[in-house]
């Protein structure tokens, strides 16, 4: 019997493939996944090098962005779909907003018994004139406890990312000299004048947190800004006299521990219906409203130090 086709041609036909499948030599079901040969392990250097080279070549080919049409197209497509998605989201949210209760009116689900009690009984129950402060530090103190730990966590991650080793530190020190203002007279003069005011203002905000607008976070941020200004005017040498990494560590530790323990006490007594020994004081006086003032101070300290620490970390990876 003579074949009309040559063997090579025959191997291209579907009949050949069908036969191979029938006799179990080739597999259409599972494809090439597990049938592809696992590479033999080759301990010799040459093979490893060759493998690396091939790998590089493939990478070059794949990531040749300037000539890669499909990557470019994909990029465009990605952008287009993202924009469309954004427009869709806008439309969706606008429709949603249009169905929401009308703004500024009194008869809304938001103005219910919760807000009512905060306003009516807040002064009496928390001792804070600033109802918002009373709410976040007493009624909903757990949130605020979490919030201060968010800040703490963020500081830890920033430390992980930016804090340098001893050896790197010296190098960074040298680099940092270039950014250091070289005893700028104007800056220093203004700073001598401004920094105390800023810091005193910050302290005022913190101490007044339960009496008026303000509180630990905002006051702390102001103090932190003051410290950063001082640092910029006089350099790390001066600040290191009173503020090092150690100071920061312990201030944070004590403030947060105090916060945690104080709130734990109040949660524990609250939940177990025990009487709390902390006096509420006369509303309106500076020493009043139970734990709110000390908590504000603690938060303020943490925030001030953290803001300063962020700045120092961003600048040269250490204090």
């Amino acid at each position: 019997m003579s074949r009309k086709k040559s063997i090579e041609e025959y191997q291209k036909t579907s009949a050949f493939r069908f036969f191979r499948w029938l006799s179990g030599e080739e597999d259409p079901y599972i494809g090439n996944v597990e049938m592809c040969p696992q590479e033999e392990y080759q301990p010799d250097q040459e093979a490893a090098l060759r493998r690396e080279k091939e790998h590089d070549a493939i990478l070059d080919k794949v990531y040749d962005t300037t000539h890669n049409k499909s990557l470019y197209l994909f990029h465009r497509l990605y952008q287009a779909t993202s924009v469309l998605f954004c427009l869709f989201l806008i439309a969706l949210l606008l429709v949603t907003v249009s169905y929401l209760p009308a703004n500024g009116t009194v008869i809304r689900p938001v103005n219910n018994e919760v807000a009512e009690r905060y306003i009516e009984k807040g002064l009496e129950e928390t001792g804070a004139v600033n109802i918002v402060a009373g709410m976040i530090l007493d009624y909903r103190a757990f949130d605020t406890l979490g919030e201060s730990h968010v800040l703490f966590t963020a500081t830890i991650t920033v430390l992980i990312l930016l804090r340098l080793n001893k050896t790197e530190k010296d190098e960074a020190e040298v680099n940092d000299r270039r950014f250091e203002p070289k005893n700028d007279a104007i800056l220093q003069l203004v700073a001598t004048f401004l920094v105390p005011i800023i810091i005193i203002f910050g302290i005022y905000i913190i101490l007044n947190g339960h009496l008026g607008p303000g509180g630990g976070f905002s006051g702390g941020a102001v103090i932190g800004a003051g410290l950063v200004l001082y640092l910029n005017a006089f350099g790390f040498k001066k600040t290191e006299r009173f503020f090092t990494e150690k100071t920061y560590k312990w201030v944070c530790f004590f403030s947060l521990s105090f916060y945690c323990l104080a709130k734990s006490y109040s949660f524990y007594t609250g939940a177990n219906q025990l009487h709390s020994v902390i006096p509420k004081g006369t509303p309106g006086a500076i020493l009043s409203s139970g734990l709110i003032l000390p908590l504000n101070i603690a938060v303020g300290l943490v925030v001030a130090c953290t803001i300063y620490a962020f700045y120092a970390m961003f600048r040269k990876g250490g204090f």
Binding site: P109, R117, E125, R140
Partner: protein, 497 residues
């Protein structure tokens, strides 16, 4: 109120406070504190679980002096206590299993920071589990996100930092959506506590007013949490993050962090929106479809992978798809299956990550399959553990993976419209799982006599081996005596209502 009722509060506070304490401790002490805290919290959760099982009803715990709509609350039921216990067990195993690698992966001076993050992560997970307040949940979601990000990038190679950035971006998108949904929800109901919101939601659904924004709010929250838990199209950060971070981080991230979000979603579904109302929306269909896609595409990506840890990471994408598929079925059975899968996947994935590191250790630190040839002979315990984990993933009976697949299939058969799709995809995905896990198992058991690597025996790594054995046992226990666990899940879900 019994003293035991204080335990959820104690667990959250102890782990939170230990984070602060660790910041002033040297690394060794921090490590001890960390272990101690995890063990203590685990113990308390176990006691609490027993207590709750004996009383048979959940309780509310005031966080402060004020009751429901005014003050914060946490709430503990069987499911919460069980989850907390499970999270502690897994976290302890992951930490202990990766402990010997830590000096090589993280700079010495940053070890105590690592333990701080783990403590904070634990506390945020516990808070997510126990909380009864939406805004508290949001705050602790953020702690969870940030500390998870820290865990990813504490091993500072380029990939992890890039992965951390991608993770943060995705997470922040998710948090943004979650918070926006939360605000709309607050606007519609005027409450932040879950039980109060639920009452108002029921009212709204009955009245018909504000229905559209309500559903949008639910959708936003769901999508936000989906993004954060790396459901399929949002998983781009995951392989690098799990593949290159430290061992413990990878194990914790894959088995706990995403599960925390998923558990929060379950809470939202049951405690905020109401299961029936949630099921009447189209959202479950979306979750269902994305879950199915995740199952297939995650596995496909895993097959293509040439790096053992990235492969395991991609398999997580598929497994999260399973969980969302269970949500998407919209039945109680599907939910139970999903929750069981949360447990089973957490147990298996941490085992796989820890075992994989044992294998790469005896292959010159390389994670490429070529170099792993015969690794199981060089580190026998890791080889056996990896095989056990793979078998569980593939769904061989006697391992936990089989039970979860069984539960999924049982749940699927009860849902008329989604039965065929879910069963077919379940089958395909299982086979794909088998493809890549068995390929790896055979690879590590292909003996290679000339490999220039030293082998590791039991004596070299006692703690590590014990962890492996415990994880395998945990898996087998879940696989063999699943009925009590399933019952407990059912009971816990019943307590949610």
């Amino acid at each position: 109120m019994d003293f035991i009722c204080n335990f959820p509060f104690f667990s959250i506070l102890i782990s939170l406070f230990s984070g602060t304490i660790c910041s002033v401790l040297p690394a060794k002490a921090a490590k001890a504190v960390n272990r101690l805290v995890i063990a203590a919290v685990g113990l308390m959760s176990a006691v609490l679980l027993l207590y709750l099982l004996s009383t048979g009803e959940s309780f509310i715990y005031w966080m402060g002096h004020f009751p429901a709509p005014w003050g914060n609350e946490i709430r503990a039921g069987v499911l919460e206590a069980g989850m907390a216990l499970f999270f502690c067990v897994i976290m302890y195993l992951s930490m202990a299993g990766g402990a010997h690698k830590l000096p090589g992966e993280v700079v010495e001076s940053k070890h105590s920071l690592y333990y701080i993050l783990v403590n904070l992560l634990l506390s945020s997970l516990l808070a997510l589990v126990y909380t009864n307040d939406m805004f508290t949940a949001y705050v602790f979601v953020e702690i969870n996100t940030i500390s998870a990000c820290g865990l990813i990038m504490i091993r500072q190679v380029g990939r992890t930092i890039e992965a951390a950035v991608r993770y943060m971006i995705m997470s922040l998108l998710g948090s943004g959506l979650l918070l926006f949904g939360l605000c709309i929800m607050y606007d519609l109901t005027g409450h932040l506590l879950m039980s109060n919101i639920k009452e108002s939601v029921a009212l709204i659904m009955a009245n018909g007013e504000y229905q559209i924004p309500l559903i949008v709010a639910v959708a936003l929250m769901c999508i936000g949490l989906c993004i954060k838990s790396a459901l399929f199209p949002f998983h781009s950060w995951l392989p690098d993050a799990y593949g290159y971070s430290t061992v413990s981080s990878a194990a914790i991230l894959s088995s706990l962090v995403s599960k925390g979000y998923i558990f929060l979603l379950i809470k939202i579904i049951y405690r905020v929106i109401g299961f029936d109302i949630f099921n009447s929306t189209r959202i479950i269909d979306v979750l269902f479809v994305f879950g199915l896609m995740g199952m297939i595409f995650g596995s496909l990506s895993a097959i293509k992978e040439n790096d053992i840890r990235r492969m395991i990471a991609f398999s997580s994408v598929a497994q999260i798809g399973y969980i969302y598929m269970g949500f998407g079925m919209g039945t109680q059975a599907g939910m139970v299956a999903s929750i069981f899968h949360i447990l089973s996947h957490a147990a298996t994935k941490s085992l796989l990550f820890i075992a994989a590191i044992g294998l790469t250790d005896v292959s010159g630190g390389s994670r490429k399959f070529i170099d792993l040839t015969g690794a199981a002979y060089r580190n026998k315990w890791a080889g056996v553990a990896f095989t056990a984990g793979s078998l569980s993933m593939v769904g061989i009976p006697l391992f936990s993976g089989f039970i979860s697949k069984l539960l999924f299939a049982q749940a699927a058969v009860q849902v008329e419209g989604k039965m065929l799709a879910s069963l077919i995809v379940l089958g395909i995905s299982t086979v794909l799982n088998a493809v890549y896990f068995m390929k790896t198992v055979i690879r590590i058991y292909t003996s290679e006599q000339d490999a220039p690597y030293r082998s590791i025996t039991f004596r070299d790594r006692k703690g590590y081996t014990v962890v492996l054995v415990c994880s395998v046992l945990l898996n087998v226990i879940l696989g063999v005596s699943s009925q009590p666990v399933v019952d407990m899940i059912g009971q816990g879900l019943a307590m949610f209502a």
